[in-house]
């Protein structure tokens, strides 16, 4: 295994992670809710009266984050290697998969693991495994950048 020292950002990533943890703490202590993005967004597609406003507000906060960051610093431009057809397919898989599996990297990965939920530990093992395998197949067997 070779570490990519040029891109490895331990301190910034730890700091950003702490912010994500603080967000999860705010949402559970103030609102009594779990910070799982796929669930927060997905349940807006089958809305239940009285359970809409906080979801819209949380998503609005996420969407506003780049603009807020720009007030303080230059926004780092993301590199999206995947082609448009691959992004379409990947989006469908992420959308359906996270709803079918009841969570994503935030709901299972951060919140569920923090609660020591056996379901979330299994879910995280599953999506990490298929994520590792997918990147291996695309980059090292098919030899492309997807």
């Amino acid at each position: 295994m070779t570490i990519d020292w040029a891109h490895f950002t331990p301190w910034a990533s730890l700091l950003g992670g702490v912010a994500i943890g603080i967000s999860a703490a705010m949402l559970v202590l103030l609102n009594g809710r779990i910070a799982g993005i796929s669930g927060i967004v997905g349940n807006l597609l089958a809305p239940v009266r009285g359970d809409i406003a906080w979801r819209v507000a949380f998503v609005a906060g996420l969407l506003f984050a780049p603009a807020a960051f720009r007030l303080a610093d230059r926004l780092p431009a993301p590199t999206i290697d995947a082609s448009y057809p691959v992004l379409l397919l990947a989006g469908l898989l992420v959308g359906a998969g996270t709803r079918y599996g009841s969570g994503c990297t935030s709901g299972h990965g951060v919140c569920g693991v923090s609660r020591l939920s056996p379901r979330s530990l299994v879910a995280m093992g599953a999506f990490m495994l298929s994520g590792f395998l997918t990147v291996f197949i695309v980059r090292h067997l098919l030899g492309g950048a997807s």
Partner: protein
């Protein structure tokens, strides 16, 4: 107040994703590429987030109401069933292909990136398809 708190939580979450580098799909794929030049940054994001959230959920578990007065909506557990595993495996394939999971996709959507917009719309379509399928399962005779 509940709505303001949720907005603030979403904003802090999004800023965390940007600062940590996780709003950048190439960095996420760098973590998933164990056989290439590996970027372990995502592990540090998880460590930071879980370290804080672990304490918060310990506190939350002992509370009967949220600080702003609402009820606590904590997951009640449930079985490790095929849905959980299959859904998560499918999610991981999409995650590996694009380097996006739902949070970073929404943040990149918010910054107006064309490719992020396409991914996010496809993701919302996938979520809507799930809702349609669930509804059909819940009422098997509804369409006959």
């Amino acid at each position: 107040m509940n709505v303001l708190a949720a907005f603030a939580a979403g904003l802090v979450f999004g800023l965390g994703l940007i600062v940590s580098g996780m709003a950048d799909p190439s960095k996420v794929q760098g973590f998933l590429d164990l056989a290439g030049r590996w970027d372990p940054s995502l592990l540090f994001v998880m460590a930071g987030a879980i370290g804080v959230a672990f304490v918060a959920y310990r506190v939350a578990r002992s509370r009967t109401a949220a600080l702003l007065g609402g009820a606590m909506h904590l997951p009640t557990g449930g079985d490790i069933d095929p849905r959980l595993v299959l859904g998560s495996l499918v999610f991981g394939i999409g995650w590996g292909l694009a380097g996006f999971c739902p949070g970073p996709a929404l943040v990149a959507f918010g910054s107006g990136q064309d490719k992020a917009v396409v991914f996010t719309l496809a993701m919302l379509t996938g979520m809507a398809l799930y809702e349609l399928m669930e509804r059909r399962h819940a009422r098997p005779n509804a369409l006959e």
